[in-house]
């Protein structure tokens, strides 16, 4: 499946705490407005690729206090009615795979609502490759098995542009779940 995604800025008005939602009014334009997604399935294995324009990649943030890393994630619902915008809720989790430009291995993420994100090392057989060329990132996840995706056949995507100080809920996201058509 190949698909062009029009991304939106994740709404900040719903985020926990009183700072982010007041200090960061929802920007009209997402930091990353468009992305191309490709999904292929081979038996139980998945290959998920996202590519997007990024003129100013950030791949190392270890030497200063104010820089943020480029990242991308694919998220799948853990239950049929898991809410995308809140990253799930109690008893209705979401699962995700996260790439950071300063790591070789992806991270596995589970969440049951805002502020509950838990990051862990990935299961065996979950890998990621990335390349930046001519102003464009291409990130490919190879996933040996992802039961949540197999069960619910839906994904959401998020892109954090480090140069725009994207992190946490400051991100460009697909406007909801999108089906992975065969």
């Amino acid at each position: 499946m190949k698909k062009k995604l029009d991304l939106i800025s994740a709404p900040t008005g719903l985020q926990p705490g009183n700072y982010v939602k007041e200090a960061y009014v929802d920007p009209r334009e997402p930091s990353t407005p468009k992305a191309d997604v490709e999904v292929t399935q081979n038996g139980k294995a998945w290959q998920l690729t996202l590519s997007w324009d990024c003129p100013d990649p950030v791949t190392d943030v270890s030497d200063d206090t104010h820089r943020f890393i480029d990242s991308v994630a694919f998220m799948a619902p853990g239950t049929p009615d898991a809410v995308w915008i809140t990253m799930g809720e109690e008893g209705k989790p979401v699962e995700a795979i996260l790439w950071r430009a300063d790591r070789e291995a992806p991270l596995r993420v589970v969440a049951e609502g805002w502020g509950t994100v838990e990051r862990n090392e990935p299961p065996e057989g979950w890998t990621v490759t990335s390349a930046w060329d001519k102003g464009r990132w291409t990130v490919t996840f190879n996933i040996a098995e992802w039961p949540a995706l197999e069960a619910h056949q839906q994904l959401a995507a998020a892109v954090w542009r480090g140069a725009a100080r994207n992190r946490a809920g400051l991100k460009s996201v697909s406007p909801g779940w999108f089906p992975i058509e065969a």
Binding site: Q15, P16, G17, N18, Y19, V20, E22, A23, Y24, V61, S62, D63, D64, T65, H66, R67, W114, G115, V117, R119, R167, A168, G169
Partner: protein, 348 residues
């Protein structure tokens, strides 16, 4: 939009008072803290306790205007200081070169100096610069700063992870680094710029008011190591303790930037200063440190605090007794610290 208030379950609040009339600017507090808690490579630049010269840019540079609360107490988007222009990177020194040149002729010796060139800022960057014209009205004073362990911590409310907590037993605000994902909204939001970020470990860190010491009845290292004996530590509600006496009973200790509206629990006895001189060297009625500047830092309550200090000083000068002056002079250093029944005295 007004800021939301969050109910907290803090049973008692530990606090500190610092008498600015006694600060030597020696940085012993800074080093005591740094060596005890914060020697990680990634936060070499970070001083949970710092002493800055006022008036001045402070540390990090321009912290009074780059936080997440404006002068009316409303939330605004704060800034994250950079290592080069905000905090200043930790310096490295040419010790090897100095050692190697020790046998040279004096003119050929190399002297200790930082290796870094074109440095833009540092933790004690504008030391002793001050403002004014000598000898008429030049002035400066030292402002030691730690985390204010606020009633409504801006850092806590900014963290989408819930990684910052206010301890129910003593009100100390701490970062749970196991939950921190390094988003740095806390760094942005704190109007005192007292949360730091370790870019090597990708987590925030901050003053913990020496919590393990406080739990044992021992005052924080910055207070116990202070040669000027200018720091007082205790609980806000202890009417036998120094904090209640200086803040509530005498009203001479006032918080820094109360207009931020988040309830800081570190208080300052404002600095008295000699009079300005006219062009003939005759003393004027105006103090060298303008009251307007002190009000800008400590709010309007500093005026009454100053008047009480001046009155009590005159009483003491006249040979009368003054509980306030005796406490501020620290005749008995043990009275500077009172945490609980298990408090360890300074001298046994």
């Amino acid at each position: 939009m007004a800021r939301e208030k969050y109910a907290t379950n803090v049973k008692r609040q530990v606090a500190m008072v610092l008498d600015l009339n006694k600060c030597l600017g020696c940085q012993t507090c800074t080093i005591a803290c740094k060596k005890m808690w914060n020697t990680d490579t990634g936060s070499g630049y970070a001083y949970w306790n710092n002493v800055e010269t006022m008036p001045g840019k402070g540390y990090p540079a321009n912290w009074q205007t780059t936080g997440g609360i404006d002068a009316e107490g409303k939330i605004k988007r704060g800034e994250i200081p950079t290592l080069d222009t905000g905090y200043g990177r930790a310096w490295t020194f040419d010790h090897q070169e100095v050692f190697a040149s020790s046998g040279n002729e004096p003119s050929q010796k190399i002297w200790i100096q930082p290796k870094e060139k074109n440095v833009k800022h540092g933790a004690n960057w504008d030391e002793d610069e001050g403002v004014g014209t000598y000898p008429e009205d030049n002035h400066y004073f030292y402002l030691p700063r730690i985390c204010n362990h606020c009633e409504e911590p801006a850092c806590l409310h900014a963290c989408p992870r819930g990684a910052i907590v206010k301890n129910e037993e003593n009100g100390i605000v701490m970062v749970n680094q196991d939950r921190c994902h390094g988003y740095r909204f806390c760094v942005e939001a704190c109007p005192y710029k007292k949360v730091y970020f370790d870019p090597k470990r990708q987590v925030a860190n901050k003053c913990i008011f020496c919590a393990p010491r406080v739990e044992e009845g021992v005052a924080p290292a910055c207070a116990r190591q202070c040669p000027g004996r200018l720091r007082y530590v205790g609980f806000m509600d202890d009417e036998d303790g120094p904090i209640w006496k200086l803040v509530k009973k005498w009203g001479v200790a006032v918080p820094l930037h109360p207009e931020y509206g988040i309830g800081p629990n570190v208080f300052y006895v404002p600095p008295m200063s000699p009079p300005q001189l006219d062009m003939h060297g005759v003393p004027l009625d105006e103090p060298r440190i303008p009251m307007a500047f002190l009000e800008q830092l400590f709010g309007p309550a500093v005026k009454d605090a100053m008047n009480i200090l001046l009155e009590e000083r005159e009483r003491k000068k006249a040979g009368e007794s003054s509980e306030l002056m005796d406490l501020l002079i620290a005749y008995d250093w043990n009275e500077n610290f009172k945490l609980d029944d298990g408090t360890r005295e300074v001298f046994s």
